[in-house]
């Protein structure tokens, strides 16, 4: 029986999604640069469903500075900026629980579908939302 499975799989496409490329590129950043120039093709990741909990999006204009999000955040991701009465989110620490989104009284926070968040520095601009 197992032989049947083996032979069937031998002649079909592997299940693995080849993201970002079939084999690990020698340098990921170099590869991404090439993709940017259109010299290489990126295999897209598996699509995420609706309601996926990804990187936070923050609408500064709507925020009223109530600090409720800071109170519920389990990972101390969110900092209050007293001068402007707004917040700063350090995504590098975020656990993507979505509790801040639930608690915000004016819906200033939302979760996006972005999940490729790796960076070399935890204070990288891509990892700070404010």
């Amino acid at each position: 029986m197992i032989l049947k499975v083996l032979m069937a799989q031998l002649f079909s496409r592997p299940v693995t999604n080849r993201f970002p490329a079939k084999y690990m590129p020698r340098s990921v950043t170099g590869f991404l640069a090439k993709v940017g120039q259109g010299k290489a093709k990126l295999v897209p990741p598996v699509p995420v469903p609706k309601g996926f909990r990804g990187k936070l999006a923050y609408d500064r204009e709507t925020c009223i500075g109530c600090q409720l999000c800071i109170r519920v955040c389990p990972a101390s991701v969110i900092m209050f900026k007293p001068e402007t009465k707004k917040i700063r989110i350090h995504v590098a620490r975020c656990t993507f629980c979505g509790q801040c989104v639930d608690v915000c009284p004016v819906d200033a926070l939302a979760m996006t579908e972005e999940f490729l968040l790796a960076a070399y520095d935890r204070f990288d601009p891509s990892l700070i939302v404010e």
Binding site: L6, Q9, S12, P14, T16, R18
Partner: protein, 329 residues
């Protein structure tokens, strides 16, 4: 003459290494595909060896250093020597002689002994367990292997070919068409036994017991690193080719050139290519497919399995060949 032989030997060994690594790459790739994975690129074994070659050689504190370092070299040299005795397609073996088949049998056992020695020399519990297991494994599969070889050789000799135990003679005499129906059945049994012995000889699942990654973390190889590990890896690659070539020489020594009436260089190329395909087929059937289709067995299960069913099958094959001789003559 001597110089030429050295050149030839070097060429065969290098070619064998190349081939062994390619077969390893193919094996990994096809195994991955059978498991629904992409698998590593074909040249991965080459990359592995290159990486190992530049890595540090770590010697454990309780090891016997000279033995620890000698074991991988011994394994590689023995595996390389086997190759020199084997007929590789249309090419005659570099070294030949009376009784070379027996020598091949012994030489095939040497890498395993070397690994066991290395395992004991490393002086750590996991490597010692691995080495013990290797010894038990050898005691289990060597006898059926010997029976298979003796069967073939004896039947060839009864057909009036000599010298006996010469690989060149055996592989020059395709037995399948020369024996009667009983003999064919016997040969089939012997072939089956040899195909079962092959993964055991090469320490592949279900017989990778001496290394057993999840149990003893690599067993007799656990302390090896860097160049030493690379040497074992290369020895394994050579052994893969050698085992494949042995099965081919004993059971499928047919060439294509004769069939198509080719001559000269073309004939040589066609035969060597065909030989490579045959070796690949043997390796694929008895190593790659088997290792993805089974769980690892335990050492006592393997010992029992080889001693009773496999040995019985091999002996039955031998008896059939003897009966065949009595009938056909």
């Amino acid at each position: 003459m001597i110089v030429q032989m050295i050149w030839q030997s070097a060429a065969v060994v290098l070619g064998g290494l190349l081939l062994g690594l390619v077969y390893k790459g193919l094996d990994r790739k096809l195994a991955a595909r059978m498991q629904g994975r992409i698998g590593p690129p074909l040249r991965q074994p080459f990359l592995d060896v290159r990486k190992l070659m530049v890595k540090e050689n770590v010697v454990p504190r309780d090891a016997v250093p000279w033995l620890f370092h000698a074991a991988p070299i011994l394994a590689l040299v023995a595996a390389a020597t086997v190759l020199l005795y084997l007929p590789l397609g249309g090419l005659a073996p570099v070294l030949t002689g009376r009784g070379d088949l027996i020598l091949v049998l012994y030489l095939l056992a040497v890498p395993a002994v070397a690994m066991a020695l290395g395992g004991f020399a490393a002086g750590t519990p996991f490597s010692a367990v691995g080495a013990q297991r290797e010894i038990v494994m050898m005691m289990s599969y060597e006898f059926p292997l010997a029976v298979v070889v003796v069967g073939i050789v004896w039947r060839t000799a009864t057909l009036g070919h000599s010298p006996a135990f010469s690989l060149a003679v055996v592989s020059g005499t395709p037995l399948w068409s020369l024996v009667g129906p009983l003999g064919v059945l016997g040969l089939a049994l012997l072939l089956l036994c040899l195909l079962v012995v092959t993964p055991a000889e090469l320490s592949k699942i279900p017989f990778d017991i001496p290394e057993a990654e999840t149990e003893i973390a690599g067993g007799l190889l656990v302390e090896y690193s860097g160049v030493n590990l690379a040497l074992f890896y290369l020895a394994d690659a050579l052994k893969t080719v050698a085992m494949g070539a042995l099965v081919v020489a004993l059971f499928i020594p047919y060439g294509l050139a004769g069939v198509f009436g080719l001559e000269g260089l073309v004939a040589g190329i066609v035969d060597v290519a065909f030989f490579l395909v045959k070796v690949f087929a043997v390796v694929f059937a008895s190593v790659t497919v088997v290792r993805v289709a089974m769980a690892r067995l335990k050492v006592d299960q393997v010992a029992r399995g080889f001693w009773i069913p496999i040995t019985t099958a091999a002996l039955a094959g031998l008896v059939l060949l003897i009966l065949d001789k009595a009938v056909v003559g």
